[in-house]
Subunit: 346 residues, 4 copies
Amino acid sequence: MTVQVGVLGATGAVGQRLIQLLEPHPDFEIAALTASDSSAGHAYRDVAKWRVDTPIPAEIAEMTVHATTPEAIPDDVDLLFSSLPSSVGAKVEPPFCEAGYVVSSNSSNSRMAEDVPLVIPEVNAEHLDLLEVQRDERGWDGALVKNPNCSTITFVPTLAALAAAGFTLEEVHVATLQAVSGAGYDGVSSMEIIDNAIPHIGSEEEKLETESRKLLGTFDGAELTHDGVEVAASCNRIPTLDGHLENVWVEAEEELTPADAADAMAEFPALDLPSSPDPLIHVFEDPSRPQPRLDRNLGDGMAIAAGGIRESTFGLQYNCLAHNTIRGAAGASVLNGELLLENGYL
Amino acid sequence: MTVQVGVLGATGAVGQRLIQLLEPHPDFEIAALTASDSSAGHAYRDVAKWRVDTPIPAEIAEMTVHATTPEAIPDDVDLLFSSLPSSVGAKVEPPFCEAGYVVSSNSSNSRMAEDVPLVIPEVNAEHLDLLEVQRDERGWDGALVKNPNCSTITFVPTLAALAAAGFTLEEVHVATLQAVSGAGYDGVSSMEIIDNAIPHIGSEEEKLETESRKLLGTFDGAELTHDGVEVAASCNRIPTLDGHLENVWVEAEEELTPADAADAMAEFPALDLPSSPDPLIHVFEDPSRPQPRLDRNLGDGMAIAAGGIRESTFGLQYNCLAHNTIRGAAGASVLNGELLLENGYL
Amino acid sequence: MTVQVGVLGATGAVGQRLIQLLEPHPDFEIAALTASDSSAGHAYRDVAKWRVDTPIPAEIAEMTVHATTPEAIPDDVDLLFSSLPSSVGAKVEPPFCEAGYVVSSNSSNSRMAEDVPLVIPEVNAEHLDLLEVQRDERGWDGALVKNPNCSTITFVPTLAALAAAGFTLEEVHVATLQAVSGAGYDGVSSMEIIDNAIPHIGSEEEKLETESRKLLGTFDGAELTHDGVEVAASCNRIPTLDGHLENVWVEAEEELTPADAADAMAEFPALDLPSSPDPLIHVFEDPSRPQPRLDRNLGDGMAIAAGGIRESTFGLQYNCLAHNTIRGAAGASVLNGELLLENGYL
Amino acid sequence: MTVQVGVLGATGAVGQRLIQLLEPHPDFEIAALTASDSSAGHAYRDVAKWRVDTPIPAEIAEMTVHATTPEAIPDDVDLLFSSLPSSVGAKVEPPFCEAGYVVSSNSSNSRMAEDVPLVIPEVNAEHLDLLEVQRDERGWDGALVKNPNCSTITFVPTLAALAAAGFTLEEVHVATLQAVSGAGYDGVSSMEIIDNAIPHIGSEEEKLETESRKLLGTFDGAELTHDGVEVAASCNRIPTLDGHLENVWVEAEEELTPADAADAMAEFPALDLPSSPDPLIHVFEDPSRPQPRLDRNLGDGMAIAAGGIRESTFGLQYNCLAHNTIRGAAGASVLNGELLLENGYL
């Protein structure tokens, strides 16, 4: 029983990754692609500047791109993956949900809304049930689920592993070294970043600080309480193509040794979903790992890599990494789609 | 009254920068160059693989390179700049000092020795008087002065500015994004770093954590007390050529606003030495600055750049940057040489 | 007697370089800046995203930007430097010339027009007199002079040096390795070029093949005859910031040895103009030079560097390099302005 | 019937690629690894600094590394893959051949020897019979087969395709843009190549010019006659990790149109060997392709990519690309091993 799916914003960087991941997917079949009005009516091949490192799938290349409106979507489509710019997502996602579509979205709009589940399946699958609240409140037949920002996804699973092992996290500092693909194909010009680093990514720090607390929070069936951990983030863009690397300092209420942390991360369970890698967190002993180019493709780009776990002047210190356009964006949405399917929302 | 100076380890990356800085210097004249035994006896042009972006000075090119021993140095040389590998420096610097030479060294050996001044002139010029203790204890006619590690030099002036403005610093987190030149010409291979970042630089974090406390410490004329600030560092190598960028979080005993910090940094005084830039700390309002490629050459590579000064979840947060082979290495040694001259040690 | 000048298209990459070069210029004073209508009326500081590696000159920063129309230019301005997109240049440059302005333009429009001098002063200063023909034909009080494409400027001086030494050039092959700045600030995205090269730059090859023949041609006072050398070009974009490197093969009618070529290039004369470097062509013996990062700033970015001059399977082979936004664009226009001044056109 | 194979020089860059390719190979099983004397006796995991982007195979990691001498190789090994430095290869390969081993070597020594087949299976498989001559002359039980230099392998298949389609090639110019991995892990330092290009690779041009003529030559059963095509090469190192891109100009005796060339390349046959991709040459219509990052992995890194096929001022012009450490080195040796197996030499 294959689910017919659509991709909203299919020509962009994340849209292309979505197609790359969905085309061979065991449960999903791409039945609709949308883009801006100027692309609607054209063959995907002609409007997408395909830049993923595997060839454009032949059938997809010939598909006609639709406008991004509910009317344009074929009737048999049940699930939509959205990678729209957030300003567009804010406008068009609600009408799709109202029209009955389930939307698994990577766009940043509505991520912090009280009745919108923000989900990393291995971390907080139970938050999905917030959809009941959402449907009650909004009167939607469809549903809207979000995955977090790529830089949030990179470090939150490591925090969740520590929490799952019984540690009460109090203070977290995180510095990010983010790849250029996180800004989209044209987001960072070559003259800005060759032989350079940029210590500022608009609104990014706030996302790490707030989304992490929501993800680690508790849903009691009616309301979601954000976690008490306090996070301070500092975000940098560096000249890497893919893979966000993060330096993390953690202070817990309890004594937390590097060995404790390594065990907690290595044992943090994966899920039995097609895109959930096992192990979820790959723990390196070599202190010089993980590195973006060497480790971003672990678990087909869906694993979290951690290493350099060591005592710090304050608490514990380590590094982690994830592929920002797979685990951090397109793969995150696909995984949420798999969770929606498993939990009967499709 | 020009001082005749020598450069120990003149063929390396820092050695070449030393020559670039010393050749036009108003008070110093290069009278001796040393390198490994295999280079001794050859013209500098033939043994140095000159890679600095200004041409090799014509007179220097023709100078004969000496072995790195006191006997090989001409008599009229008073001051030696040392940029030797630390294992070599540990062996050969003491004999030079014993033979009466004043050595301004960038090498990491002995930086934390109790009777060796570790100096950034604008930060702790008064530590230079530790040389009296050193001479007493070691019976040297010469003297050994160190400058700190390049990544230490980048952020300590900003801490010193806050301290000078009356803030008592308690906890500091610092994440570094360090340029490849910090590892020397052959220190980082291209295959290691293109499209990559390496979250580990051997012993580097300890240097930031310990050298900073010594630099900010108090010398009472007899003994040096290290400062109480606690520092936790996380060090990364990224694909930039020059310029170390650092993300800093500071928690002070007192309330410390971004405006306080910006004022403290902007007003922190330069010194009246040829290589001390004015202002010492260039404070940017644009939150995306400083950036390595755009800002490393401020003050001829001797300025510290700071920006993104903002409230943090914990205390204050900002970014800073310095040119690692000028302010962070060769220029640091030259500046210490200027301080030695001014204070009558030559 | 300082000439008042204006910059058309002052906010772009070449426009910023023009300002960097003109601000300290001995003979020119910036009196007007123009940009698109949306920037007109604003302070330059607010509409230019300044990315040159020297600070924006304080007076320039405060200047009000004008629309790019003759009416907007102050009366005392005599000379305009144009770095407009070619489609814009094609529309607006003629009205400026008709209104009496002398325009030294880097834009590619009209470069091959029969009555428009295409000039590298050290190569074909005598072509400037084509302006008499131009004024006759077009009835302009002003005048329009062009400099060639950045990749053309890099290799033509070396061909001119060989021709000046008496060699009759027949066949030239040239492969270019061009820096990203040649495409403007946003011309090449980081995702396109990190760890990559692009063997195609639209219309670039034709420019090298045709502009070179015009530059090397003969002006008899009435008509310009293009040179008979045949050129085949292959153009590539690579991940360098500035400096176009080119591999050249030359076959001449006469025997042409590497020594002949090296002498011809080293002795090719500079001009007595403020921006013409001496020597014009810097000839390296080291076969691994010139290299973009090490050699693009020779002669303040206005020199041509050549090296690796060697026998080839066919004729002669060598490499050459020039700074593409200085010698290849902004500096080329400024140098043409200096030639116009010297020859009494201002 | 799996053939037991050994890897000589297993710790280097090409050695690691050999292991990556051989480990899942259908016909070969790794039974021996050798390296320098200092590595002998240690587990492979401990002496190889594994940097390939797939994990080190678990069984290989635990294998004990041998010295590079015939005595150290287990008896049941029949085929050796050699990726030794050429100076070492020149010394140790002959003794292995004398001891009865068949050696498929990527090292540059002996490539141009009259009785050593230099083979790209799809281009000149019939040259393999030169081994009969070799065994007669040298009295070896074993045999020595070479694959060409990585930059030679990239463009020769395109020339072979044109020759196979009936065109008589006369003059070829080729400019290379070569990746850093071609120089080995430590061959190019990051300071040499970030924001830079180097127009010189020692002895490389000669390899393209001479190896190409041998590969395209004719073996009559007794003697190998080199082809008459004349090749002029210009070699550059650029900041790419993998994938050599080449600009080629070809002049043929007959009229040769872009369409002829595209057809000839697209139809040039692959072989029925495990590592020979089908198609062998992937022809792009998009003139901006092939590009190293996007196209180096075509055919699992064993395909040749060609594009930008166009008329030139002289003859024809196009670009081609191959993965330099797979098709250009490790994969080339493996493919030769497969040819040796098919032709009964094992």
